[in-house]
């Protein structure tokens, strides 16, 4: 008889509170929004971002342009041209289309009817000859049609009333459907692209990936719980507790207005697997205590596991909170949400799991006590030989660890910040590939923006001419470009919203755009550095503003933001050390506890540097959070040693081996839960999530190895150093 009696009234009160909280969480959940968030990544208190904000307020940047790429055999063919013309007319009736720019927009003073393409379409040979001649005379044509006439580009400028992501998505869908209908029955392929389209495709995949990660996490966590606990009843209690924690966390995120974006999308899944890991630790202890026959086994189990669980939650929360030192508002938001969620989920597990357990006990009336299974692990899970080997060879293992740590961290520091706006797009994404074909066959889609005072007019003209000399006439887009060649390229429209595209709203500034084939931040920074040198040497450009626009700003700010992650990581390590030092009252032991957790980061970081992947947002976030999760295992080892009566820094070999062996099954299982639970990321549609999963899993596995192999050796070496001779006490 091991039942801890719970009165019906107490249970009723607890369940009422439980359902009330769940209902509240569902309300919060309904408020969750999905957004790519990439543009917000750079929201920061930096001069570059403030300048960009001012720029956005003054100019219509054109960064939301939609490109429709038609690819056929020969667009001199009148039937093909007629199809494009029909599309151009129809698309302007779509709500949200502001203006269209295409080869049909181009004036040709030498051409019939004043247009490159006349209203009455001529035969293919005549039109082909016209295009060939116009390619030499009309600079704008090369931007919209390839010399072989196989590629034709249409640029659509959304109207000002298409401002929300939902409105933009609706417009993209309408245009895509119309384009597909237009080319139906022809040999022409059509693809929608542009930065806005790419970002929307990221946002669409976010929803799918969010569902995938959480459903996979629940399935994997429950399956591992069944296998580990060998009790369906107990596994279901663990699963229900973890899912409840996830629901509460998502509800809190909804009420706090935290959206799901490329940075926060993995957080709920992490919360879920961490809940499973915590619930399993508590589940094992509950069952163990239940088998001892103590009537207050629930309280005993909570008392024994609670401090370590809350301490590990605290260290994980610290890792998340360290992200609040990032200059990116989006990363700071993740830090805040993550740290709060970690504490909330732990509190959730420690209230919900005992409630479920007590209810199950009462409902079963002890008749199904065996439903909770027996507390035992397969012997091999204790990893005895590995731990014994580590302790026996502690000097060699410790020396190798220190060398590995120094080398890994040294190499890690050489990792270059590498950011690209394409980080979240698969290389084979049709929109991304179309963008690359446009840049290859027609013109760079990206541009770096500069502004220049409009007055005095001769100063502006001189600056435009000087800039054109520096970068080439073809690569400079300005108001002058369009005056010289009316009706060309971006900005042509008749409904007013982009009439002042190259002039600020107040008319005091002119916009000068320099075409730039965007690959990534590193390449853009090199481009900007080179440009800066040439601009500085040109006195006529002394009034030119610093470079701005999304490409320039993201490239410049991302370098500092990525370097911030190193600082965040150092803060996480320091704060975690302090917390453990306070808990164990031993700064030395706290520093030692960092070794098995920093080592995996050093190894993965060194790989990032050596592989050329460098530092990205994904790796920065993944490694900081993975450190916070990995440290939990070390806390559980230290807690077990404390429970086994080990005090101070002098341990016997037996104390170390026993403690690590006792906790090893739980460490293996919780690592399995974390690694398998998060492995849903490997099937995600967004490459950044796949990468996040790969790095996180690598850190979890390395951290387990470090806790089993490195940490016992380090503990033994420390004991030896402080003067005890543990070997002599070996039984």
């Amino acid at each position: 008889m091991v039942n801890e009696p719970a009165t019906f009234t107490r249970l009723l009160i607890c369940w009422t509170a439980y359902f009330a909280l769940c209902l509240l969480a569902v309300l919060g959940l309904s408020r969750i929004t999905f957004n790519d968030g990439i543009a917000k990544s750079f929201q920061s208190d930096t001069p570059q971002y403030h300048q960009y904000e001012q720029f956005l307020a003054r100019f219509d940047t054109g960064e939301n342009e939609i490109f429709v790429l038609f690819e056929g055999n020969d667009f001199a063919n009148p039937a093909d041209l007629a199809m494009v013309a029909d599309f151009l007319v129809e698309v302007q009736f779509e709500d949200g289309t502001g203006a269209v720019v295409s080869p049909f927009s181009l004036s040709d003073p030498n051409g019939d009817g004043g247009r490159v393409i006349p209203a009455q379409l001529p035969t293919q040979p005549v039109m082909a000859a016209r295009f060939d001649a116009a390619q030499k005379r009309i600079p704008g044509l090369g931007r919209m049609m390839s010399p072989d006439r196989k590629t034709l580009l249409v640029a659509l400028i959304p109207s000002d009333d298409t401002s929300t992501p939902q409105e933009r998505r609706a417009l993209y869908q309408e245009i895509e459907a119309l384009a597909a209908k237009s080319v139906q029955g022809t040999q022409i392929a059509v693809t929608l692209t542009g930065y806005g389209v790419l970002l929307d495709s990221v946002a669409k995949k976010l929803t799918d990936d969010f569902l995938l990660l959480n459903i996979f996490g629940i399935a994997a966590g429950t399956l591992i719980s069944v296998l580990a606990l060998r009790s369906v009843t107990l596994a279901l209690i663990v699963a229900a507790s973890s899912i409840t924690s996830l629901l509460w966390v998502l509800g809190a995120m909804g009420f706090a207005g935290i959206e799901i974006n490329v940075v926060t999308v993995t957080m709920p899944a992490l919360v879920l697997v961490l809940s499973y890991a915590n619930a399993l630790h508590l589940g094992f202890e509950l069952r163990h205590q239940r088998q001892t026959g103590a009537p207050t086994y629930l309280r005993t189990a909570i008392r024994r596991m609670g401090p370590a669980s809350f301490l590990s939650a605290l260290t994980t929360a610290i890792a998340f909170a360290s992200l609040m030192f990032s200059s990116s508002s989006l990363v700071r938001q993740l830090g805040l949400a993550g740290s709060f969620s970690t504490i909330l989920l732990t509190a959730g597990i420690y209230t919900v799991l005992p409630l479920f357990m007590a209810t199950a006990e009462r409902m079963s009336n002890n008749r199904t006590a065996s439903a909770f299974g027996k507390h035992s692990f397969p012997n091999w899970l204790t990893l005895g030989p590995v731990i014994a080997f580590s302790v026996r060879n502690h000097r060699a293992v410790t020396t190798l660890t220190i060398l590995g740590l120094i080398a890994g961290l040294g190499i890690y520091t050489t990792a270059q910040p590498r950011f690209t706006l394409f980080e979240n797009s698969a290389p084979d994404d049709p929109s991304r590939m179309a963008l690359q074909r446009i840049e290859r066959d027609l013109v760079p889609v990206g541009a770096v923006a500069f502004t220049h005072p409009t007055l005095p007019a001769d100063s502006l003209q001189a600056a435009q001419a000087a800039l054109a000399r520096l970068v080439g006439e073809r690569n400079l887009l300005s108001g002058k470009t369009f005056q010289a060649v009316p009706d060309t390229a971006q900005g042509v429209q008749t409904n007013g919203n982009r009439a002042n595209f190259f002039a600020s709203e107040s008319g005091d500034l002119a916009l000068l755009l320099i075409s730039h084939a965007y690959v990534g931040a590193l390449e853009t920074r090199e481009f900007l550095d080179d440009l800066h040198t040439r601009i500085t040497d040109e006195p006529l450009l002394s009034n030119l503003s610093p470079p701005t626009g999304m490409l320039a700003v993201s490239s410049l700010i991302s370098r500092d933001m990525l370097n911030d992650f190193s600082f965040c990581f150092i803060i996480a390590v320091l704060c975690s050390s302090i917390v453990i030092a306070l808990w164990l009252k031993s700064p030395v032991l706290a520093m030692l506890a960092m070794v098995p957790n920093v080592l995996p980061i050093a190894i993965v970081g060194a790989w990032l540097a050596l592989s050329g992947n460098g530092l990205q947002f994904t790796s920065g976030v993944a490694m900081t959070i993975a450190f916070g999760l990995a440290i939990d295992d070390t806390v559980h080892v230290l807690n077990r040693m404390r429970l086994n009566g080990a005090r101070g820094m002098r341990y016997t070999r037996q104390q170390i081996v026993d403690s690590v062996q006792q906790v090893a099954p739980a460490l293996v299982i919780s690592t399995l839960v974390l690694a398998v639970g998060i492995s849903g990321t490997l099937s995600a549609a967004l490459p950044s999530i796949v990468y996040f999963g790969q790095l996180s899993i690598a850190v979890y596995v390395l951290a387990l190895i470090a806790d089993i192999v490195v940490f016992p050796a380090c503990l033994m070496s420390l004991s030896t150093l402080v003067g005890r001779s543990p070997e002599s006490e070996t039984p």
Binding site: V89, A119, T494
Partner: protein, 168 residues
């Protein structure tokens, strides 16, 4: 793009009528689709285009509001026409194109399914004064047509938009 604003003039022309189809008065609450041509500027090339408009009859059958959008291969604009019968076949109208950013006031007469109007005063465009004319014709069908044209003393008439409307 300022060169575009203030220079786009729309013309409506009665195109060849379909001998079989019935003429339809625009004085209906209805949706219409128009096809035809228009120019973006007085000296610009003709381009093929389409319009989609709604008509709403008010004041009994005495007034008509036409609103919608016209688009060519390179440009589009919202359009508004307010017609009002003033007795003895007299008609007053206000015609507005958003791209143009101005309203033109017309007066004219209605006779046998044709409304012919001229601008109350010359219209200033790019430093030149233009006389303007607006004609709506539903005498020949199918549907109705609109023609909007401008002219100067020295130059020929310039038809800027020609649209034949049918019920959608």
């Amino acid at each position: 793009m300022k060169f575009l604003t203030g220079s786009i003039i729309v013309t409506a022309i009665l195109s060849a009528a379909d001998a079989i189809a019935e003429p339809v008065s625009p004085f209906l609450d209805a949706s219409w689709a128009g096809t035809g041509v228009f120019r973006e500027t007085t000296d610009g090339p003709v381009q093929n285009g389409r319009c989609r408009v709604e008509t709403v009859v008010t004041l009994g059958q005495e007034a008509l509001n036409l609103t919608g959008q016209c688009a060519g291969v390179a440009a589009s604009t919202k359009v508004l026409l307010k017609l009002e019968r003033r007795g003895e076949n007299r008609i007053a109208a206000v015609f507005r194109l958003w791209a143009w950013d101005r309203e033109i006031q017309f007066v004219g007469v209605e006779s046998d399914g044709v409304i012919r109007m001229t601008g109350r005063e010359p219209m200033q465009l790019n430093g030149s004064a233009f006389d303007s004319a607006l004609e709506i014709n539903w005498s020949q069908g199918p549907g109705f047509s609109m023609e909007f044209a401008v002219s100067t003393d020295s130059g020929p008439d310039v038809e800027l938009l020609s649209m034949q409307f049918e019920l959608r």
